[in-house]
Amino acid sequence: MSEYTRDEMMTVAAARLLRDGQVCFVGIGLPSAACNLARLTHAPELVLIYESGTIGTRPTVLPLSIGDGELAETATCVIPLPDIFSDYLQAGRIDIGFLGAAQIDRFGNLNSTVIGSYDKPKTRLPGAGGATEIAAHARQVFVVMKASPRSFVKKIDFQTSGGHFPGRPQSGARGAGPAVLVTDVGILKPHGESGEFTLSAVYPGIPADEARAAIGWPLAVLPELDTCAPPTAAELEVLRALEARTAAAHREPVRLPL
């Protein structure tokens, strides 16, 4: 078995959750890597939608921004952004939405708006973007975040996007909310009526105690924990080739348009 990093384990674990043919609303960073890894391995018909308006995009390198030209050039179609949100996301055509945030609570409510108070923030974060309506309307939400006591907190400072909040079934949200939380210390799934995120699988060589230490709420742990299979040689080869292509493409100097 080859050596691999925690980021690679996390990316592979997220990729394995995707089924061929699903329609995914993708964000930049690890979700983008996971979705493209899935598309290049077990799910060749995965449909990737980026909020910039690209539908069915098949990039050969990972985008640095949500609107890189590569996404448009390899898409089935490119549509106006308002159509993506109204006619695709709100209309219920998205199977999986990926989200991350600065803070998450045990019910999968997310904060990407402010640390501190809204009127006098200690840290002003970028804000909602597409997240609020992705959290409401994607059939399922996959949250991908590295765990730390600062980000996995008992109480988030601001609720940007709803997880399993009280009254969700009557709220008008089309989707079922966060179905899984992929971290670097294991995989959490909602449990019981409250939908509290509970450790349900660990990675090889990372004990549940490490997850307990990294998570800022008293972590519930399933009595029978799964252990994720380590990344296969084939998964690692495809992921590393994708990342090498991406690094090479982003190293190419851009000439000033003068």
Binding site: I28, G29, E51, S52, G53, T54, P63, L64, S65, I66, G67, D68, G69, L71, A72, V78, P80, L81, P82, F85, S86, L89, Q90, N109, T113, Y118, P121, K122, T123, R124, L125, P126, G127, A128, G129, G130, A131, T132, E133, A135, A136, H137, F158, Q159, T160, S161, G162, G163, F165, R168, S171, G172, A173, R174, P253, V254, R255, L256, P257, L258
Partner: protein, 282 residues
């Protein structure tokens, strides 16, 4: 009749202090040259609307040109924070900035309503979020047919929308290829539409289903090659991802930011001079 003006004259004639401006373009075709010209001419008290403020509004906010910001995601894409936006919100530097904050889905329907001259846009949105509690402009209506509670946002109707596009023809019809974001809606929502273009051509390529803004919707066209840099113009030049990374260091510090603006924007005559000054500095 669409006017053909140098950018300097288009801004001088059509943008006033206190205006509500939307410089749109989602990652692609962001009208940076126009943003810099606003800084050179010292426009102030602006109400800036844009889904993703990006570097172009970080610069306008950092020089104190804005009193209010309507937006839905205020980061440096793929990099991190917009430090000038943060400094304005967290510390009121260089002046206080009123925040009118939305989600992308809501701001998109705000532009759509603006383009259609409806008073508000509606969406099944703002569910499970604290945003409506912090922004009194986010409200709800009861559907007269089903009784459903639907979120609303006021129409966004800028005094002036400014876009960058690949090309215009000599009549003033403007064609955009590639990622369009909410450019079309923001264009039609505005009282005046200024467009900077890479090229002015005799005839636009056939584009039955492409995004074209017909000349009668376009107030003025200014040819500004490279006018979207450091964002990109599909088919002309790529996004300068490296500059987006470098901006993080330039904008982190008030002094460093001001020195950069003085040297590359205020001390240059136009966009050509701006790009030349960057090449000299490289």
């Amino acid at each position: 009749m669409t006017e053909f003006l140098p950018l300097k004259d288009a801004i001088a004639k059509h943008v006033a202090d206190g205006d509500c401006l939307a410089l749109e373009g989602f990652t692609h075709l962001i009208p940076f040259a126009a943003g810099h010209e606003l800084i050179r001419q010292g426009r102030k008290d602006l109400h800036l609307a844009r889904m993703t403020p990006d570097l172009v509004y970080d610069q306008l906010i950092g020089v104190g040109a804005a009193r209010k910001l309507t937006f839905s995601w205020g980061g440096n894409p793929g990099v991190g924070s917009l430090h000038r936006l943060r400094d304005a919100v967290e510390n009121g530097w260089p002046c206080a900035l009123e925040i009118d904050e939305h989600s992308h889905a809501a701001m998109a329907v705000g532009y759509r309503a603006g383009a259609a001259r409806l008073p508000f846009g509606m969406l099944r949105g703002y569910i499970g979020t604290d945003l409506p509690a912090r922004n009194p402009r986010i409200r709800h209506v009861t559907c007269p047919y089903t009784g459903e509670n639907i979120a609303t946002v006021p129409a966004v109707n800028p005094d002036v929308t400014i876009l960058h596009a690949q090309r215009a023809d000599r009549h003033g019809n403007v064609a955009i290829d590639g990622i369009v974001g909410a450019a079309r809606e923001a264009a039609l929502a505005a009282a005046k539409l200024l467009v900077t273009v890479e090229q002015i051509v005799d005839e636009l390529p056939p584009a039955m289903n492409n995004i074209v803004l017909p000349a009668f919707t376009v107030t003025a066209v200014s040819q500004v090659p490279g006018g979207a840099w450091p964002s990109y113009a599909h088919g002309h030049y790529a996004r300068d991802n490296d500059f987006y990374l470098r901006w993080d260091a330039i904008a982190r510090d008030r002094g460093g930011f001001t020195a950069w603006i003085d040297r590359h924007v205020r001390a240059t005559r136009d966009h050509r001079g701006f790009l030349a000054s960057l090449r000299e500095a490289a």
